[in-house]
């Protein structure tokens, strides 16, 4: 018999998934990129990914302890932050720097705002910006993948050190300055698709990222709006320069496959916490990110613009949300 009746507001059934499920989906989607990172960069990659994931989770646990809040490590969002942070770090970064970065990402990037769902900036990108400011040298030193010979001539653009200047985006920066030929850089396209180039851990292999992104879209963990907006706007924007001067500016396709653009479009800009809610807002946000990335890459001083582009658009998210207020199905008036 009925000893106890539960009373609650309707509905009385719910879909069987959770925040944890969403985070787990993101982790699964990042597996191809992690595998490729480990394949190309070997032991340092594994060390970095594990260090970041574990220290992010540990920081979350510690923060909850200090705040006297229920433990939230279980929702896996800290692990996702850790993995994304690791994948956007250079492979040769010492593990202790990664620990500092992870602690910053969770403690300052997320928990001081109130924890999951309350942060203004993407924690991984905030932390990366912090690391770039604090450890500038370490954060811009690139090792080449273990699978290719570092002395291969194509990897040594005019007068540059093959070890420290190995990313395609660095070359394209050189090309803009007239120190390299954009056409030669464009030949790296295939390498950026497979990932056999220098760069951040998880950002080198376009194919692995696309695979993960396809999984997220298939599972409807993310909607297509932000990735499409980022990629199309970046492509169109980069194409303007390319067609103006193909010798100085690399092809827009390389802008998409090279550097962190795909990582950004599929995994970073789609972070729901720091992106706008309404679809119209998602388009504005995505277009803004795509344009800013290209603008920073081409006009700015940095070869890569993902981090600052995302942070800038994160800051604009509340404004975009307010600007794109939804109109109810029956029109605006209400009685």
């Amino acid at each position: 018999m009925l000893s106890k009746i539960t009373v609650s507001p309707s509905p009385h059934i719910s879909k069987a998934y959770s925040t944890r499920g969403i985070m787990l989906d993101v982790i699964i989607a990042l597996v191809p990129a992690m595998v490729m990172a480990c394949w190309y960069f070997r032991a340092p990659a594994i060390i970095l990914i594990v260090t970041c994931a574990v220290s992010c989770a540990a920081t979350e646990w510690l923060c909850n302890l200090i705040r006297r809040k229920p433990d939230s490590v279980n929702d896996l969002s800290a692990v996702v932050t850790g993995i994304i942070l690791a994948l956007s770090l250079p492979p040769n970064l010492p593990a202790w720097v990664a620990v500092i970065g992870s602690a910053f990402a969770i403690a300052i990037g997320k928990m001081v705002f109130g924890g999951l769902g309350a942060n203004v900036f993407n924690p991984a990108m905030a932390s990366r910006a912090f690391l770039t400011a604090s450890f500038g040298m370490l954060m811009t030193t690139w090792t080449v993948p273990a699978t290719i010979d570092a002395t291969m001539p194509v990897l040594s653009p005019a007068g540059a050190d093959a070890i420290t200047q190995a990313t395609p985006l660095n070359w394209s920066k050189q090309a803009i300055k007239g120190k390299a030929d954009a056409a030669v850089v464009n030949e790296q396209l295939m390498a950026t698709v497979t990932g056999s180039v220098g760069g951040c851990l998880g950002e080198t292999s376009a194919i692995a990222l696309l695979l993960g992104g396809a999984y997220l879209l298939f599972r409807r963990t993310i909607s297509f709006h932000i990735p499409v907006a980022v990629l199309v706007s970046a492509f169109v924007f980069a194409a303007i320069w390319y067609f103006a001067d193909p010798t100085a500016y690399v092809s827009p396709i390389l802008h998409i496959t090279g550097g962190g653009m795909l990582m950004c479009a599929l995994f970073i800009a789609t972070d729901p916490v720091t992106a706008p809610l309404p679809v119209k807002g998602m388009w504005i946000f995505g277009i803004g990110v795509g344009m800013l990335v290209v603008l920073i890459r081409i006009v700015g001083e940095y070869p890569e613009g993902v981090m600052y582009a995302v942070l800038i658009m994160n800051a604009l998210t509340p404004l975009i949300d307010r600007f794109c207020k939804l109109v109810p199905a029956g029109g605006k008036t209400h009685g």
């Binding site: 009925l2 539960t6 309707s10 719910s14 109810p328």
Partner: protein, 443 residues
């Protein structure tokens, strides 16, 4: 959105429920003014006798479903209002029992034998209200409106709520009575056309209604419209949009755009009321859910308690955890099993512990991660998370800025929310707080 349909009682024929020993006929079973009692303690009442007087234009009288003696006129648990006055009747052992429809309606039913005025009067006197759940007095909907002529009568046969099958069974078994009711309602309201919206997950109902309509005389203006199966397709505003392509304005009601919407069960009641002068004393109730021994569709005296229905249906299972008046998406969980069936209760769903409880971790409400799923599923294009958080922070003006009162409370946002936030619950609370603030509702 597609919550699991769980139509357990799809193939259960509508069965008669015997009279219980006691009925509690609530005096407020509809939207609008509560009735005043016309009987006193110890009065003898007869089956069909009016016992509650309608107060005002938007109101509906209530009638006794049994022969018996008034035990008391007292407060009784009410599924919507919490507590409300009810006429409590001890049922005579030899009380007459309202039989199931006996097939008196056929294809040649001629509604022109009744004038539109006659129809509206009969509907008012029978105390018919919207039987789909809201309980809005039907004669008010039928009343002519000189400003906006009525364009169409839309019959709601969607039954998009999971578990509920009463309307489906009525369309299958009482088809001619339902069609007769539609014809009468159409004449009573003066609508030139009729559209019957049925979801595609009920192909037999679509086929049967369409086929029998063809055989009926004077049904040339009537048409069955198969609708995509999705929740909440049967929401009045969603139904009108899907069937007639028109959008009811925010804060508005269907008459503003010349549309009348009636539920299948209401139509069956109209036929009974107009032709047989029978007041609304019984209704089809789907007794369903995983926690009841014998689920089924029953023709129940209005005023029967939930406990009596449980006893009639073989009792509850061990793991029963929640009793819901209505379906699992919009129904109201009740705390008192003596709560009586009202004119608007189309179903009672008994949910098991397993159904209402997900994994232990997931049960806890977690932080909103702004995933936006509540925006994607909202049929009214509202920002549920913003409204809910505004209500939580006691910022009713902000909530209203996001059109809180446009919410139809379908429950999609809460259903989909991965953080287990009771978004619909917050919005409902916000609406009540707002109404109180505007002093529309007593504290």
């Amino acid at each position: 959105m597609h919550p699991p349909e769980n139509k357990l009682t799809e193939d259960s024929q509508i069965q008669q429920m015997p009279n219980p020993k006691l009925v509690s006929v609530l005096l407020g079973q509809h939207i609008g003014a509560v009735c005043s009692s016309m009987v006193q303690k110890k009065d003898k009442v007869q089956f069909g006798q009016q016992i509650g007087q309608a107060e005002g234009f938007v109101s509906a009288p209530v009638h006794s479903p049994v022969d018996g003696v008034v035990r008391d006129i007292a407060l009784q648990s009410h599924p919507v209002l919490g507590r409300e006055m009810a006429v409590i009747i001890d049922v005579d052992a030899e009380s007459s029992i309202k039989p199931l429809p006996n097939g008196q309606f056929t294809a040649d039913f001629d509604e022109t034998a009744f004038s539109d005025k006659q129809i509206r009067d009969a509907v008012r006197q029978a105390g018919i209200v919207g039987m789909g759940g809201a309980g809005f007095p039907t004669q008010v909907k039928l009343e002519p409106n000189p400003q906006t002529p009525k364009e169409v009568l839309i019959i709601n046969g969607c039954e998009c709520e999971p578990f509920i099958t009463g309307d489906y069974r009525m369309m299958m078994e009482w088809t001619y009575q339902v069609i007769a009711g539609i014809k009468l309602a159409c004449r009573g309201a003066g609508c030139p056309t009729v559209r019957i919206g049925i979801e595609e997950n009920k192909p037999e109902a679509i086929a049967r209604m369409a086929e029998l309509l063809k055989q009926c005389s004077g049904a040339g203006n009537m048409e069955v419209v198969p609708l995509k199966t999705k929740y909440p397709q049967g929401g009045e505003r969603q139904l009108i949009k899907a069937v007639w392509g028109k959008q009811v304005p925010t804060g508005g009601i269907p008459p503003m755009i010349g549309v009348v919407v009636l539920n299948v069960a209401t139509c069956a009641a109209i036929a009974d009321a107009v032709v047989n002068n029978a007041p609304l004393t019984h209704r089809v109730v789907t007794v369903t859910g995983g926690a009841i021994a014998n689920p089924g569709n029953y023709y129940v005296p209005i005023g029967t308690s939930v406990q009596d229905l449980i006893d009639h249906c073989g009792g509850l299972t061990e793991n029963a955890a929640k009793v819901v008046m209505g379906g699992p998406m919009m129904g109201l969980a009740i705390a008192d099993l003596s709560t009586p069936i009202t004119k608007a209760s189309g179903a009672i769903t008994f949910l098991t512990e397993e159904t209402i409880t997900k994994a232990k971790y997931e049960r806890r409400q977690t932080a909103c991660i702004r995933c936006g799923r509540c925006l994607t599923v909202c049929p009214e294009h509202l920002n549920a998370t913003r409204i809910a958080h505004a209500v939580k922070s006691d910022l009713l003006d902000v909530a209203q800025n996001y059109h809180m009162t446009a919410c139809i409370e379908c429950g999609c946002c809460s259903y989909i929310c991965p953080a287990n936030i009771e978004l619909t619950g917050y919005i409902k609370t916000g609406k009540i707080l707002l109404a109180r603030a505007k002093k529309r509702m007593p504290k």
